[in-house]
Every structure is written in C-alpha cells, then in structure tokens.
Symmetry: C2
Subunit: 324 residues, 2 copies
Amino acid sequence: MYTTEELILKIEIRLAAIPLNKEPDKLYDPISYTLSLGGKRMRPLLTLMACDMFGGNPEDAIEAAIGLELFHNFTLLHDDIMDNAPLRRGRPTVHIKWNPNNAILSGDTMFALAYRCIANTSSRHLKKTLDLFTKTAIEVCEGQQYDMDFELRQDVTIPEYIEMIRLKTAVLPAAALKIGAIVAGANPMDAENIYRFGENIGIAFQLKDDLLDAFGAEELFGKVTGGDIAANKKTFLYLKSIEKANESDRKKLLEYYKTGSDDKDAKVRKVIEIYKKLDIEIITEKEIEQYYQASLGFLNRIPEKTGDKSILYGFIESLMNRDY
Amino acid sequence: MYTTEELILKIEIRLAAIPLNKEPDKLYDPISYTLSLGGKRMRPLLTLMACDMFGGNPEDAIEAAIGLELFHNFTLLHDDIMDNAPLRRGRPTVHIKWNPNNAILSGDTMFALAYRCIANTSSRHLKKTLDLFTKTAIEVCEGQQYDMDFELRQDVTIPEYIEMIRLKTAVLPAAALKIGAIVAGANPMDAENIYRFGENIGIAFQLKDDLLDAFGAEELFGKVTGGDIAANKKTFLYLKSIEKANESDRKKLLEYYKTGSDDKDAKVRKVIEIYKKLDIEIITEKEIEQYYQASLGFLNRIPEKTGDKSILYGFIESLMNRDY
C-alpha cells in the first residue's frame, strides 16, 4: 500500500509532465495556470487509493486519475465564468486574467485533454472507464444547470438541493473511486459499493462546506465566511431555515435573500442569527452524519480480505473533521 | 454502395434518436435546438461514405459519425458565443435565445455527448478512433484560438492563415473520413491517404467559402456578401491583396480594416474594388484548384480495387462547384 503522500507525488509528477508549453499560448497558458493553482487533488487521489486498495497497481490508474483532475479543473474554469467569480484559490480567475473567450476555449481544450488521459486506460478497462467518465461529466453539467436554475427559483426543496449537489459535486469523487476499482479489476459489486460510498461521502463533504461557509472561521477556511449567504445561495442551511422558521423569520430570510451585496456584512450576520436561533448548525451536522454513516455502510460491505481500507478511512476522516 | 440520400437518412434517424427531451430543460433544449437547425451533415456523411468505400458496413460507423456531428455543432455553439454572432443558419444563436451561460454549459454537455457516441465504436477500433477524435478536437480549438489571435494581429502571413483554417476547419472532415476508414478496417496507408485527401479538400472548401463571401450572390449564399470584409476577417483574399497591392491601395485596405461597421456597405464595395483590380478572384480560384488537385492526388493513391470512389468524387465535386 502506498501512503497518501506517495500517491500525491505521483499525481503532481504526472500533472507536471502534461505538455502545455505550446502554441497558441493564449490557449495553453490558462490551462497551465489553472493546474498551478493547486488544490487537494482529491479526485485523482481517490482513484489511486481505490486502485491500490483493490490490489491494482496505481500506475495503471494514473492516466485516468489525471483525466479526472483535468476534468475537475475544466469545470471550475467554466463555472467561474458562469458564476462571474473574480477569484479561485485566492488568485484571479482565467476569465478575468485573460478574458471570457479564452476561458471558454481553454476549458474546452482541457476537457479534450482529460479524455486524452482517460483514453490511455488499458484496453481491457477502457470502455467501462470511458462510459463512466462520460456519464459523470454529463451529470456534473446537469448539476451545474440545476444550481443556476435554483438561483431563479423560490420553491427549491431540500431533496432537490441534495440531488443538485449529488450531481454537481458527489458523482465525480464517486466515479473517481469506481474507476480506480475498475482498473484494479475489482468485482462489479465491490466497484458499485465504492461508488455509493463516494457518492454519499461527496454529499457529506458538500454539506460540510455549506456549514463551514456559515460557521467556519474565515482565517482558516480561506474564504469569506458567509459567502453563500452574501451570494444568496440556497444551501441546505438556508432551505432548512425556511422550512423551520416562524412566519416572521421566514419573511426576513426571503427579504434578505432578495438583496444585493451593499449591506453584505449586516445581512450575513442577520441570517446567521436566524440559523443560530433555529439550531441549524446542529441540524446540518446531523444531516452530514447521516450521509457519512451511509457512506461507511457501503464501504463496510466491501469484504476486508479485498484490501486494506485504512488509508481510505483515514483520508475521509481527515476531510470530515476539518474545521476550515 | 449506398447513395448519399440513403446515408443522410441514416444520419437524421440516428440524430433524432438522441434522448434530449430531458431535465434540466435549459441544458437539453439548446442542444435539440442546435441540432434542429440542420446543416449539410457533411462530417458524418464523409464518415459513412469512407466506411462504405473501404468495404465496411456504414452501420458500424454511425455512432462515430454522429459523434462528429455533435462535436461540430458543439464548436459552432461555443464559437458563436466567442464571435458574438447573433444568427446561425438564419435563426437566433443559443447565447441570444437563452443566454451565454446556457450556451457554455449546453456546449460542454454536447461535447460529452459526442464522446458518448464515439465510445460506442466497436472495441477493436475504439482506441484508434478515440485518439484521432481527441487529437482533432484539440486541433480545432487551436485553430479557433489562432483565428481569434489573428483579429488582433496586423502581420498575419498567408501560410499562417492556411495553417489556421487547416486546424479550424480541415482536420475535422479529414478525421471524419479516416474514422470511416478505421471502422471499415482499411489498411493504415489508405486511411492516411483518405485523411490527407480530406485535409486538402477541407482547405479548398474554406478558401471557396472565403471567395463566395466576397464574390457569391447574396440571395444564393444565404449570407450577406462581404460579411468577412465587414467583420475585418483577414481571409486569404485580404492577405493576398495586402501582399500584392501598391503602397496606396495597401494603406487604404489597412485603413478600411480598422473601421467598424458604420459604413459597412461602402467599405465592402471599396475593398472588393481593390480585390477586382488585383485579380484576387482568379488568384484565389487558382489557390483553391491547387488544394483540390492535391486532394485528388491523395484520393488517387488509394487503389481502385479497394472500393468505389465515385460517390466521394461526386460529393466533393458538387461542393467544389457550388456558387453559393
């Protein structure tokens, strides 16, 4: 078994080897830039961990893993245009540093480069890997569309929100894990269980993100606390509050979420006050715990003899227990 | 051998069977809309023709053919955002009818749907088809980037322009033909020759488009004559004129190409006057003929016993001899 650090190193070495010092530079520079912004490399790491766990050689999964990382970064690039986001990991976004056209086209190229890596999967596992990757890519697009649709809707339900984050954020780590399993030659039931594990843990992660956005310490999280509230994002916390609030608080919430960002700090403070009054922090933690337990249920279904699950457990726990 | 009409019918039937009546509708409606705008279906047709010609069953190439048509339409969708084009085939573009975010995301989804079709190629030919498709997709993006770069450059050379149109428009029909050959199990040399045939004929087509934009009759061509001139597009005609013009005319051309569209009709008329004075129409026709002959040279290298090239000859000739 490899350590997390060993796997991360493999990923960074392979990422650095993608030939991007190419013409036309306005096409390739934004791709280098995006990859250089870093990130946890969670998705490729999950692929290599799963491959290792199921007795495969992580080297055989590295191309697909890199494909997933390229795809993830492509979605960030295009999402940032759509969300008109000025910053990504504290640095100017591509559509700001270059322009929206460059961001569109470099993103498209990155998507194709992702497929170039996926296509390097050994022929025995190519079709399965490719089909899962494409299915996932389409679902991620669907999730992003629902997210944009929800901005304009006042009647979003919690199940709809959960389905949106499942598509937008959870199916990709789930597919990352399953692709590792596929390349390792895992049996279909184990591969399905690792997928369901990833899907549930992915939803738990996103809910944790939502929670930290409102209740995390700004200096640790690296994001402005309350960013979701300032942007009128209808997160689990907001939707649950709307559901639980009395008539007066509900009206206030709806009113706050109509306004722009002039009175950002005051608005964030007032919304969080209502969250606190309604015990939303505790309710969200319970919801997270449910998805976390569900995910562990799927992981536990994979027989111990199959492989050592300890690294995966450790990685997941470190992500779940973060407070930033 | 199938007739062109029979092959077109296969393509339209398969296109109509793509499940697009799906949620979220803002994601899928723009895709249906784009495909419903029609077009010549040239790329999938070339795939099926090549497959047929090399003794394959066009049914085995239909998925890849549809993948190429989806990819082509995806590039149009994103190009229209980048070019800020209001119309496509006489109808509002997606970024106008919906909005730019929808156009970005529906385009991304279309790209993934293209890969879904490509992935349905039989496993024997999958890797080759996939690699050629991805290589081509990246080249098309490079071509679009060069096209945008050239808008800002005053020193574009004719070889640079030819390389740009090779990437932006010629490699896709070339790949379409070669994928048909691959699926038919053609030998690698024949597959390469059909690719080179497509590449050269693709450049000839684009030069013909450039020519018709300046010298075609508007009512036949369906586009405003002189659209390239109005948009300051540095086409072969323009670049050749800059090269051949005397000092005074060269200055005039450079001046005309600095201006916006206030004086569009006058500007188009004046530029075309210079083109006429310099025999640009004849020079361009000669250039087209060179690429046309080069393409036939590659087609002729494919032994007659390999298959009946007559449909391909006929199709190409009809496209070359169009005057709209």
